[in-house]
């Protein structure tokens, strides 16, 4: 399996998981362009990536949350390199907020990062003259289906992102592209990110995964790499849940714990 010399654009170079994705793609010979947002520090990214990996990737700077300007950032990359083969949208903002008390600003800011940026990046990607064997991969969340009880606007955004993926799969599939969405499940720290007074989904979350092992960003990177390969060409419009079976969990049985700990 090879994906050598293809160029992948990663929308949020500072996001959790960007390093693992870049490392995986670079190790298989792909070129990687990371975007850093206006508040993201190049030195910080360099430290997070490590000197060797940082020197093997390209990076751009642009505020993808500003609507159509997201498209301009990608268009500039396309202009510079001739083509972007793989678009990876991994931008996400999780803000604890409720239906009852959220304000419009919080709602709009979250939707701009989680959805609007994806839409205008997709539009810019689609404007390339040829899309044959190209890929769009949206990194979503199991919360595109399962409510968080802690950040309703995050879930709303992921629900919308799922439909963008399906529409783009139909539209751009006619031109040879494959478009898919990954619904990422629990990784370390999600019990804090999705802390909720309403839902106990993340209580003992490790033990709600059948293997009792949480996911990692390396798991995500493996899947993204596979989806970027020619061999994945017939996977289009799919929603791939990457959660170790966490979402199958029902009620409160804790996997791999004894009866007394399940009481």
């Amino acid at each position: 399996m090879t994906s050598a010399r293809k160029l992948a654009f990663i929308s949020d170079g500072a996001a959790a998981g960007a390093r693992a994705i870049a490392e995986r793609l670079v190790s298989h010979g792909m070129q990687v362009m990371l975007n850093l947002g206006p508040g993201q520090d190049e030195e910080g990214a360099k430290t997070a990536f490590g000197k060797d990996l940082w020197e093997s990737v390209l990076w751009s700077r642009g505020d993808l949350s500003q609507g159509a300007s997201a498209g301009r950032v990608l268009s500039q990359t396309i202009e510079q390199f001739g083509t972007v083969d793989v678009l990876i949208h991994n931008s996400q903002r999780i803000v604890a907020t409720s239906v009852e008390h959220a304000d419009c600003r919080t709602y709009q800011d979250s939707m701009a990062v989680n959805v609007k940026s994806a839409f205008f990046l997709t539009q810019a990607f689609a404007r390339q003259p040829t899309l044959e064997d190209s890929r769009i991969i949206y990194v979503s969340s199991i919360h595109a289906e399962k409510p968080t009880g802690s950040s309703f606007v995050y879930s709303v955004g992921k629900g919308a992102l799922g439909m963008l993926a399906r529409e783009a799969a139909l539209d751009l599939g006619r031109r040879g592209a494959s478009v898919n969405v990954i619904e990422m499940g629990p990784v370390e720290g999600d019990d804090q990110r999705f802390a909720s007074e309403i839902s106990d989904l993340y209580q003992y979350y490790r033990y709600k995964v059948p293997s009792a092992v949480l996911g990692t960003f390396e798991d995500l990177a493996h899947l993204i790499w596979f989806l970027s390969l020619p061999e994945s060409r017939f996977i289009n419009g799919s929603t791939i849940r990457l959660d170790g079976g966490f979402s199958l969990h029902y009620m409160n049985h804790k996997m791999k714990l004894g009866h007394d700990q399940n009481a």
């Binding site: 609507g67 159509a68 409720s98 239906v99 009852e100 959220a102 419009c104 709602y107 709009q108 939707m111 959805v115 609007k116 839409f119 205008f120 997709t122 539009q123 689609a126 404007r127 919360h143 595109a144 289906e145 399962k146 409510p147 968080t148 009880g149 309703f152 879930s155 709303v156 955004g157 992921k158 629900g159 919308a160 992102l161 799922g162 439909m163 963008l164 399906r166 529409e167 783009a168 799969a169 139909l170 539209d171 751009l172 309403i198 839902s199 419009g237």
Partner: protein, 257 residues
């Protein structure tokens, strides 16, 4: 199903499905606030039809994508009828544009009306529903919240958002005995739409399209606004009190084919 003594607010109730819902709720005995955005004469026609059958209704203008207008509308309805028991979020924009045809302004208009507007209106009615000890919210989505349209990408995105708004609101508002559910209509035959929607099917191809479409419905016909209104009336009634966070597809079985 009786909705006697219930008070309902239906957004986008001047035309199409929204008008059918307002009439259906009124037939079941509810007092209905008929929201419209740009065409008062259509909303007044809905009100007139409700009055004709002995119901109570009045029209109320608001752009549901604007928070100040939404809260003002809810204030006026509460003042007029004394509260709100039933909210039907229905107002939506559907310009029927493809991926490359959308500009940022149109994207914002569709997402802010179809998705943010549902949340804003829900938030605005919460105080009165809490004060009344219970409430019903029914979000009108679409089969295109799960299946792509191939003719309006942002419309489908907004409906994907409504799916999750419904689920989140359902678990959050359950403690106030407010249920939040969603209906996914399939194709529904309605009159001309408000706003500037581009026709999905050009006029010269409509009769052939109609025949072809009919074959896609196991029940042999496209939907009518009253089909959706019937489901809304059930979800708004006391008989549905254990249903929350659910979505009911009302499409004549078309998504099965």
């Amino acid at each position: 199903m009786s909705l006697a003594n219930k008070i309902a607010l239906v957004t986008g109730a001047g035309t199409g499905i929204g008008q059918g819902i307002a009439l259906g709720l009124a037939h079941a005995g509810a007092q209905v606030a008929v929201n419209y955005f740009v065409e008062p004469e259509r909303a007044e026609e809905t009100v007139r039809q409700i009055h004709e059958v002995g119901g109570q209704a009045f029209s109320v203008q608001a752009d549901v994508s604007q928070a100040d207008q939404v809260f003002d509308m809810v204030g006026r309805v509460t003042e007029h009828f004394g509260g709100i028991d039933i909210l039907v979020n229905n107002a939506a924009q559907q310009p029927n544009l493809g991926l490359l045809e959308y500009d940022e302004q149109t994207y914002d208009r569709v997402m802010n009306t179809n998705c943010m507007g549902y949340w804003l209106t829900m938030q605005a009615v919460l105080p009165t529903m809490r004060a009344r000890g219970k409430g019903r919210v029914v979000n009108i989505s679409s089969v295109h919240g799960k299946r792509p349209t191939d003719f309006d990408v942002v419309y489908a995105m907004s409906k994907g958002g409504v799916k999750m708004l419904t689920r989140e609101a359902a678990i959050e508002l359950a403690r106030y005995h407010i249920t939040v559910n969603m209906i996914e209509p399939g194709a529904v035959a309605v009159g001309p739409k408000s706003g500037n929607s581009r026709p999905i099917v050009p006029p010269e191809a409509r009769s052939e399209h109609r025949l072809r479409t009919r074959s896609k419905f196991p029940l042999g016909r496209v939907g009518r606004p009253e089909d959706i209104a019937n489901v809304v009336s059930f979800l708004a009634s006391d008989q549905s009190e254990f249903i929350t966070g659910a979505s009911i597809r009302a499409d004549g079985g078309s998504m099965l084919l």
